[in-house]
Point group: C2
Chain length 507, copies 2
């Protein structure tokens, strides 16, 4: 632990008091939580360039106030604060700044859920079937390094300056062609380059939503979008899905009743459900949006990742009157670290979103934009997509086989035709949070269904990713999952009556 402390020799305040008051502040601010071990006196003294006695005196003062204590064999440890975190002794001025009182927006409800999951997946011994990340062993690193080096050495003094907020023009031209290949007509002026599609969600929410504005979402849907809409204060209106995608027959009632500000849909290999919206529903959704004059946000990260037949063209390909913003990304078809997404929209929307982006981060990473132009120009993106369409079905089949082999009765799953995910349903009465707790002990992770639900639902469902792990790890992960489910089923048999009706918190 390095403790951030400044000492000022010009000050009249004795050095030991300077050290003591800053550690006191760090403890009160939460920078040094209870149980933290302070640096050994000698180490701190050396790093500050003061005598060891000075540090020792400071520690003794802190101990006298009950803020730290010496523990045998562990050194000096921060104690729990008695109740009121900000309460001090006599020295009431200056006080540490109570940052939490200054924050204007509350946390989204799901943030802790996602954070816990990230922490679990960060453990090296855990097989994560949670992350929505492409296979790292398939990243075209040599090729990406080659184009990066080429553009950097060839055009570094230009590309390392600023680029337009809307994006590097040759890249927007390349994206217009990419869009055309998906059936979406766009000129470069209709395209906005983004720092990942997450930024697109955020900019659109900032441009369109005021607190209380109704937003239509599919149930279930992408958790990152839910978080953004929640943070914007939107009122989420969930529309159920079936095997043909969003139930547009139910959508119309919501449109008449609530006049929503936005319809968010992920029509192709949906996250998390894997569902592809039928052509008929795509037309129906657009037609409703036109009739009720509601903007549509079509999120399409996975459309190119089909493993049998090609899915219908994006809703945007049907859009004649500028109702649809089409959002896509390189995170799923290349790698997330490139941090490049893009959207296609009518010019007035591109202009407005670009203006907000200008205030947000000026423009996206230029090196990646230049490198991608060259990567696409050489045909390497299409070659890579073809390779993914060969590799991922093998991982999907391996996961389906392992589920049949290792998982006991009590679980259903779908058979997606593309994308990244299996969507699983537990037998009635079983909860995916309970399963995740068991699975975590067996070092395998997935994402609970709640995370994808605008409402309270999803407690019996969860999402498995089949692209990130290789086949042996997939088999091992599903075997562990099967064991976890066995425990849950045995547990239910034993405690059936006792457990019924209890409410479990989301962890």
């Amino acid at each position: 632990l390095s403790v951030p402390i400044n000492v000022n020799r010009e000050s009249d305040e004795p050095l030991y008091l300077q050290i003591e008051s800053q550690i006191r502040s760090l403890i009160r601010l939460g920078d040094l939580p209870a149980g933290t071990r302070l640096p050994p006196e000698r180490t701190l003294a050396t790093s500050l360039g003061v005598n060891r006695t000075t540090v020792s005196t400071a520690y003794q003062e802190l101990a006298a106030d009950g803020l730290v204590e010496g523990q045998v064999g562990r050194g000096t440890i921060v104690c729990s604060l008695p109740d009121g975190r900000m309460q001090g002794g006599e020295d009431s001025f200056p006080q540490p700044l109570p940052w939490s009182e200054f924050f204007s927006v509350g946390e989204g409800g799901q943030d802790s859920l996602v954070r816990d999951l990230v922490a679990l997946c960060a453990r090296e011994d855990v097989i994560s079937l949670a992350a929505g990340v492409p296979a790292p062993d398939l990243y075209p690193i040599e090729r990406f390094a080659a184009v990066t080096d080429q553009v950097l050495k060839g055009h570094g003094s230009v590309l390392l300056q600023h680029c337009p907020t809307e994006g590097h023009l040759p890249f927007r031209e390349a994206l217009a062609e990419l869009a055309a290949g998906r059936g979406v007509a766009a000129s470069p002026g209709n395209i906005l380059v983004l720092a990942g599609s997450q930024q697109g969600l955020d900019l659109i929410a900032r441009a369109l939503l005021k607190p209380g504005d109704p937003v239509v979402v599919e149930v279930p849907t992408y958790l990152g979008a839910l978080n953004v809409f929640r943070r914007a204060g939107a009122r989420l209106l969930g529309v159920p899905m079936d095997e043909d995608g969003m139930r547009t027959d139910l959508l119309e009632r919501l449109l008449t009743r609530y006049r929503p500000q936005l319809i968010y849909t992920l029509p192709t290999f949906q996250n998390p459900s894997g569902v592809v919206m039928s052509q008929e529903r795509r037309r129906a959704l657009l037609s409703l949006a036109e009739r009720y004059q509601v903007p549509v946000l079509e999120d399409d990260p996975y459309g190119e990742l089909y493993y049998s037949e090609r899915p219908p063209a994006p809703i945007k390909s049907l859009d004649r009157h500028g109702h649809v913003i089409y959002l896509s990304t390189f995170s799923k078809i290349l790698f997330p670290g490139v941090r490049i997404g893009w959207l296609v929209a009518p010019r007035p929307a591109v202009d407005r979103l670009g203006l907000i982006k200008q205030h947000t981060d000026l423009h996206s990473n230029t090196l990646a934009q230049w490198a991608l132009v060259e990567f696409i120009r050489r045909g390497w993106l299409q070659e890579h997509l073809a390779a993914l369409r060969r590799a991922y079905p093998q991982r999907l089949q391996a996961m389906l086989a392992a589920l049949r082999e290792y998982v006991p009765d009590g679980l259903r799953w779908n058979h997606p035709g593309g994308g990244f995910f299996l969507w699983c349903h537990l037998a009635a009465g079983l909860r995916s949070t309970d399963l995740l707790a068991e699975a975590g002990q067996r070092r395998v992770a997935f994402v609970q269904g709640e995370a994808f639900h605008a409402d309270e639902g999803g407690q019996g469902s969860f999402r498995l990713n089949f692209t990130y792990q290789n086949v042996p790890a997939i088999r091992e992960g599903i075997e562990r999952l099967g064991e976890a489910l066995e425990v849950l089923l045995a547990d239910r048999r034993e405690h059936r009556a006792a457990r019924r009706g209890t409410v479990r918190p989301i962890v």
Copy 2:
């Protein structure tokens, strides 16, 4: 011009009507403004795979409604819309979506000013003394390419995955050391990596500000910060500066009267004024922030770029009780295209800002973070800073000499000890927007003083950048500026009486 049109052969609607209705929509939406030339019939027919007659019929329909007209030698041109932009004929459904009615936030007042300036500077024949960009001819491209290639080939499959929202840990460790070198004590947990310091401003505004919240700013100050605070709906409270920086004697009255939510300061080689806040004022500012419990945002892009004596350490180095967020960037000391900034703050602030960042863009560009770790580890950042500290004073001296040589009486300027800018004041009665109009005709650009003012002030001042252009271009630019000023002075002599009292719009 490529026109984004989709045709659908499965539809019952005739192809010519599909084309006609979409062009109609594009015209109404503003995607095809008046005067735009439509593609030749044959070209559009080929690209859509339809007969030329189909396109021809569509164009004739549009012409019959007065939306387009044929012009000899120019082809088919979009006409101005008669008044009501959305008005149509009988075919009132479906209508194009009126996007502007859906946008929840207004444009910031200065956006058009900045855009006009960007457009002027984008012209290749213009010598821009406007941009705050480091010298492209000094970019360490070979070295940056070397570390980029090394980390990409050595660790691509790891670094191209996601990294933590707060930043790649070894990079945060390197930044903590960089901060320590500036006198700012920080542990990696106090550091948040950003997509440029602009993102820091935006995140802090989102975390701390509600519409109407008072924010203290220096007069003048960085225009990008003003834009962010304005967009957040903040009430800007300007504090004048003198040669020792912000007038802290005037600050206290604002703190007692308005209880501001934030104090924004740029204490070292301030943008645009070049002023360095004195050590005494730094202490006074912090002491006021502690007494009135107000967060301070210290923006420090230029602190390392001193050309004579080293400036006082950042205010953050004095911060004992967690009142200061310290913001810095690589855009000014390396190149803007790297899009990496960073901040140092108490843990609770880092946590909250990180949470908002997670929803905004997940995390910053990982390749740049890894490359910078290696660049810093090899000592190349310090070597580059030393090179800049040798090169920029030459450009500064060249600009000062050229000003003395070419510019007539009627202009004062400062002699900054570091940073990027000269701050200039015109003789009474002259306006920098008038000067910019003349200068633009002579192909030289700068930024008008208004852009840096929270209030209506700054009309007689402007900012010159001395880092971006090389010495010959600086001399040429200042010579042109001198000519522009001559014209303004002659103009004033001739029209003195007539011009007095007129109000000029900001262009």
